[in-house]
């Protein structure tokens, strides 16, 4: 959960990686790459944060999490389609309100899908890891295929709002606007999560539940109910991530969630399963390394996530911020 204040080594590592690359590339390229990495990291963080909390709280690893990402992206597209007049307008306010509406719809829809998924798929196999993996995977396949039935199997284009297109240019440095948008949004999600977890009573219970669930239950709190709420919130975040990810690629495919799930898993392993802070740092680390590697050594970039994971696990075998009970 929240890292002890003294343990800033992982954060320094991210900074160190970013600075270590600086001598090898021009400054303008470095800025572009770093912003791209940060944007990618934020999107992955938004998708991964719910998964790591769900795992930390109830020991449930949901292989269907990727399906929520896809559902979110498709629902957002359903909303953005009719709002073409808003997204096409060349001014910020209608653009952003269209995106906000789409995000709201995506989060609502994935929250509801998450609730149904928890009821139908996760609950009956509670505490049985093997069947849990199989059933959540099967559930994800069914959800994906239902999307294919509803929308057709072919990739679909998503309109990117006008105001988020193009780049901000300063001297010879160019940064895509959409990436800045993703960074800002990701930081606000992280800040909001931090505030909820650190400053509210619910957050206190969640953190306590991750550390020691039976004790929280013994104190009279219904940890199951808490879990369902966290599961829904996590699904909603995955939906938001799906919107961002879909607009970033400007293309939706049925398998987009399953594709990104691998990265999400690597990130939550690196972060220390159950730790939101670790998940944040892990997402930034993998995304930055992937971007730098893609520029400096394209062939290496294909395996960069795995390499980062292996190196991190050699350094800290339980992940960057190991959760106490594991």
């Amino acid at each position: 959960m929240r890292a002890p204040a003294a343990d800033i080594a992982p954060a320094l590592l991210v900074l160190g990686v970013a600075l270590a690359v600086l001598p090898f590339v021009s400054f303008s390229a470095w800025v572009t790459l770093t912003v791209a990495g940060l944007a990618m990291g934020m999107m992955v963080f938004i998708m991964a944060s719910g998964l790591t909390l769900v795992f930390g709280l109830m020991d449930v690893l949901n292989f269907g999490h990727g399906a929520f990402v896809t559902v979110g992206a498709y629902v957002a597209m359903l909303v953005l389609g009719p709002l073409a007049a808003w997204t096409g307008a060349d001014s910020l306010v209608p653009n952003l309100s269209a995106v906000a509406l789409a995000a709201l719809a995506a989060m609502l829809a994935t929250g509801v899908v998450g609730l149904a998924f928890e009821r139908a798929i996760v609950r009956p196999v509670y505490g049985q890891h093997l069947r849990q993996i199989l059933v959540t995977l099967g559930g994800a396949i069914v959800v994906e295929q239902l999307l294919a039935v509803a929308f057709g199997p072919d990739p679909m284009a998503v309109p990117m709002p006008e105001a988020l297109r193009g780049s901000v240019v300063a001297g010879d440095i160019a940064v895509e606007k959409y990436r800045l948008f993703a960074v800002v949004l990701g930081l606000s999600v992280f800040a909001a999560m931090f505030l909820v977890l650190d400053r509210t009573r619910v957050g206190l219970l969640i953190r306590a539940g991750v550390e020691n669930g039976p004790m929280v239950e013994a104190l009279g709190y219904r940890i199951r109910r808490l879990f369902v709420a966290v599961f829904m919130a996590g699904s909603a975040l995955a939906g938001l991530g799906g919107l961002l990810w879909g607009m970033y690629r400007e293309m939706l495919t049925i398998s987009m969630g399953a594709d990104v799930l691998v990265t999400v898993f690597i990130v939550i392993i690196i972060g220390g399963m159950g730790s939101v802070g670790g998940c944040f740092i892990g997402a930034l680390l993998t995304a930055l390394v992937a971007n730098y590697a893609g520029f400096l050594a394209p062939k290496l970039a294909l395996a960069s996530n795995i390499l980062v994971m292996v190196l991190v696990l050699l350094w800290r075998p339980a992940g960057l911020y190991a959760v106490a009970k594991r």
Partner: protein, 355 residues
Amino acid sequence: MALVRALLSEDIPRSRVLVALLVAVLMGLAVAPFAFGGARALNTAATICVFIVLAASYDLLLGYTGIVSFAHTMFYGIGAYGVGLALSYMGATWWAVFSGLATSLVVSLALALAIGLISLRVRALFFAMITLAVASVFGVLASQLSDFTGGEDGRNFQVPELLRPGHHFVEGELLGRAIDGRLLTYYLVFAAAVAVFLVLLRIVNSPFGRVLQAIRENDFRAEALGYRTVAYRTIANCIAALAATAAGALMALWLRYVGPKTVLSFEVMTDILLIVVIGGMGRMYGVVIGTALFVLAQNYLQAVMGRAAEGLSALPWLARALHPDRWMLWMGLLFVACVYYFPSGIVGRLRGRQE
């Protein structure tokens, strides 16, 4: 009878229906080239042989040891690519087949050992995630390093002279079938599949296999009894990987082609999972029945679905759901239902109270 018992490692099917089904599958596969005409039927039979090996080795992990791996297609792919690339670069000789197979077995063993040692000490979940990550990276590498692997298109290659369809051993036909290299390839695949299956059956019924099942039931207790669970799990992982590699090599010989779609895609992985779950986890015979049913359904039921979809054009939603491309929808539903309601699969059902 004693010979049969010895071959089956004293693990007799214990159900009359099951015996009948197993004999039917075995006989069907043994006479397939003569009994069912046509390239498609033979292709289906060869696929069943290869998938029995592939799924049986997966059952060693999932059903007997209780660990979920998503890297099984990776090992399958290593076997297929090993033989395929060796044949296309070194020429169509037996030497290429064997060196390709040997190389891929060594690579698989090393990878399985590395993955096992890194992640099997932790927990089932961790292993599942790490194997998924490694397998997906391997899949990306195979399609990206296109100069070497042929990329998305894969590679076609020639097999050794003896195995080519153009090679006739005798003039004329026997029971309406030319005695050619294709026939020899089929029986090579069939014999190898039977042999590997019997070896796997022997392994799960050995004292080693009993320890694996003890670990599945309660790893803490197995550890307390003095078994080094990490070592056992790792060895099981390595054996399964080697068998999957062998299956991949057989598939490459049969198809004379390797490509990421046929041997590395996640669909193959879900197929294996489905076969093992439908047949019955932790029951080697279940794999045989499951594979036969699944591959037959995959090859013939999809056509039925297509026709049903056309007939239902009045109900567009249902028609789209029944489209052959939505095959996975029904498989996914079946899969979830099986995990919930028939965790012991077909074989568990057939054995009924005896289990």
